[in-house]
Amino acid sequence: MLSEKAIKQVDEIIARYPAKRSAVMPALYIAQMEFGWLTPEAIEAVSEATGVPKATVKGVATFYAMYKHKPIGRHLIQLCTNVSCMIFGAERLVDIIKNKYGLEAGGTTADGRFSLVIMECIGACGTAPAMLVDTDFHENLTEENIVKILENYK
């Protein structure tokens, strides 16, 4: 079950649309924040909160790449390795993260601190390389400053 606060948020979103099902996707984000990732319980909670059948909610949740379907660390690093970032050395950054934290792309550190996802373009080609940590945007990354940035996330 969602927390009271989350249910209130979902209800507010439902009220914005003519059909309740329109609230499924934002509700999934809310549930993801509460549960950490979209556990079966999280999907059931969304189903209960929106009145949309749970199989249908699961169908929606699994269609989109940015919902999380397995446990992730406390902080999610989303690093771009597309053309501009690659040219500016993003792949070396991947190595640094691997060496420093033992973190492979797609994996989570043993202490549950970080998860790393390699992103397609995040629209920061002019200030490449770039990454997202949780919802914070970081650009002009270098081999020096990336660890410093990451050390701010405990």
């Binding site: 999907i43 009145g51 749970k54 199989a55 249908t56 699961k58 169908g59 269609f63 790449a65």
Partner: protein
Amino acid sequence: MITVTINGKDIKLEKPVTILEAARTAGIEIPTLCYHESLELYGGCRLCLVEVEKMPKLQTACTLYVTDGMVVRTESEQIADARRGILEFLLINHPLDCPYCDKAGECDLQDLVEKYGPTAGRFAEGKRKHPESFDDPIIVRNMERCVMCTRCVRMCDGVQGDSAIAVTNRGSHSFIEPFSGGRYNCEYCGNCLTVCPVGAIMSRLHRHSYRAWLVETEVNTVCSYCGVGCSMVIQVRNNSINRVVPRFGLGINNGLLCVRGRFGYDYVGNEQRIKSPLVKKGGKLEPVTWNEAFNTVADRLKALRERYGGSALAGIASGRCTNEENYVFQKLMRCGLGTNNIDSSARLGYSGAQRYLENIFGQGVTANPIYGIANSEAILIVGGDPTAINPILGLQIRTASRNGARVITIGYAPGLERFNSIGLKPRIFTEGILLSGILCEILKIKPFTGENQTLESVIKGLSLRPAREIAEICRLAEDDIRKAAEAICNVSSISIVIGQDIIQRSNGNRNLFMLSSIGYMLNARMTLLSERPNEQGTIDMGCLPDMLPGGRPLEIETFRKRYEGLAGTEIPSGPGLTLMEMVEAAEAGQIKAMYIMGENPVFNLPDSNAVKKALGSLEFLVVQDIFLSETAKIADVVLPALAWSEKEGTYTNLERRMQHVRRAVDIQGMEDWRIISEIGKRLEVSMPYNSSEDIMAEMVRVSPLHTGLTYEDVDKGNALWPYKGEPLRAEMPSLSLSDENIIADKGKLYLMVRRPLFHSGTLSRRSYALNNICSEPYLRISRAVAERLSVKDGDVLKVSTVKGSLQVKTKVDISLNDSAVLLTNNFEGMGAFSLLGYKLDPVTKAPGIEGTEVTIEKGKPR
């Protein structure tokens, strides 16, 4: 008028339809995979691509509507190329395992590839692996064979309304899955199996034993489970049922079935079937010859009649037997044993309620076509969940809801919770009061018409309380009551669906009066839910203590004389006892012998321990059944009958439509009617029948309702009785609301019967399939009660009432009222009726089972 040219042929159409439909009306075939006439359009498989002049690209015929002057070609080199290409794509991941796929021989993909397909694929990347799922006891999913047509999902969402499965994941990784990823946990209607064009969703029950080309015969028949009477086709191989399937375009169910109909038929093949007649010798039932059994029954009944008179004998007919059998049964009782003590389990709700409504409105008032429900603009549902009791009827309500009808449910109806516009859950046992409040609000909006002055004067004489007061009693929002009344007032076509829960009350007649009044004020169609396939038939065949065949009142001399003249025997003129009265009379020693056909009163009647004692005290008890039921076990003679798939006859469904039940397999044994005829002959009753058709021929002479009817008419679908509007017995009810007895529920819990989707009782619990879907009963409790007792799903609880106690697992049911707990009456030794007392409704004579307090405590794990 629209003219469209397809393959050079001009087709004239009244209204725009899709190219596919236009082509089909002209007999032009266009291949399809994802298209299905019962489902929402999808346009996903791209196999129906056609050329449309002036359109640069190929178009999907299933989604493009024709316009005037459109020129279409359905076959060309370009089209064949496209279809070949699509099929090549569909086969990239397909395992090509036709030799051991059950779908082979009736697989759309196989047929299409044979016709259009590539002889070899060019994709060498290797196939996607997705192991076949055996997590479910009934349904096997093989997602390697799936072509992603989504017919199953559209069936589940848009027709069945269960939404149990969905497309999961994306693109070439997508597959169809229930929420759990394994077990289905759905309504198990199996309608996804019917629409799957390939071997992706298959039944486990006949896995590797079904081959389309090995089916020897197909028999059109009617389902044996509930009062809807769905048409089905029994596919027979080696004189046994291989599979049961529905057919689109056939019957009232039009291609749909429910879990009981589709999977529950296998009880007929259960090893526990009684194979020989049994007679109690030295306290034990011993096998005997048919002749000995017949002579024992005839001699004993004759002796008991001579000693005590006909009024000491009684018979229980069966809503599971055919019309013909029930007709012969009442003839045996009336003419052979000289008694009118005949009734059936229809008394538990259906027959008493129908009689009540017919006395006000006339014969056939509840005989309304089921499809009419789907076309209603508003539907009021009271006293049961139609999606569980009569599932295919329940689907009509879901359809109506999708079409924008206002659906108002009163009480427990979890299957309609996503489909109702207003769901009223009044405090326990106050549904009748709520109805009176709705009536009061309706009277403020609708004027009297003067059509039925007697009824109007009764309504006017009531001191109805307004919504404000009712809301307090029922613990509802005043506004909701008013809204419900308004919702059903302002429409032109309304249906009222009535379930057993409000009939099985000691004041059930009052609930029925309120519904009659609402129905009258709104000119509504009324439908009674029916748990047996032929409850209506028992009524029409005269298996009632005061009615002769054709629904003719016994007390009217002209009817009785006519019956006696045709039968050649005098019959008693006074009415006999109703079902529960018979049991009470047996207990009191007034009934000495009973003949029970196809019924299990020791389990199926409330206060069943007392019923067992009463029937056990009889001097002579004959039970005719297919299984050694709880009742058969205490009988003096047990006569093994044939099951529904083994005999010919007719059933009359709840819309009063007579339908043909056909023999699918030949089994050594005797039909119920043959057994009764043999006994009848020994009691000097004229029973010269060689077939069920002979009985029908006699019955149509006796019953004015069926005059001139033949099996041919039945087969043509002409045997449906419309509303005649003439009450044969004008008994206007009188009632006052001053003595309303409201059961206080403060902190107390009350046990009620749950009528589930997966089981019906004596038969279903012997179905392998249904037992695999649902193997044990659960006590349903509300969330509040669960929290109070701090129990969770699966905990074993001890449930006790004054009548006894049971240990049963629990399940929290969010649809439940706080003070009600529900238990089914399906599983041996675990029936709710063993814990429930009853008080007869003085008018309908249905047992009122309300008001049994129950205590719940944590039990020991079994």
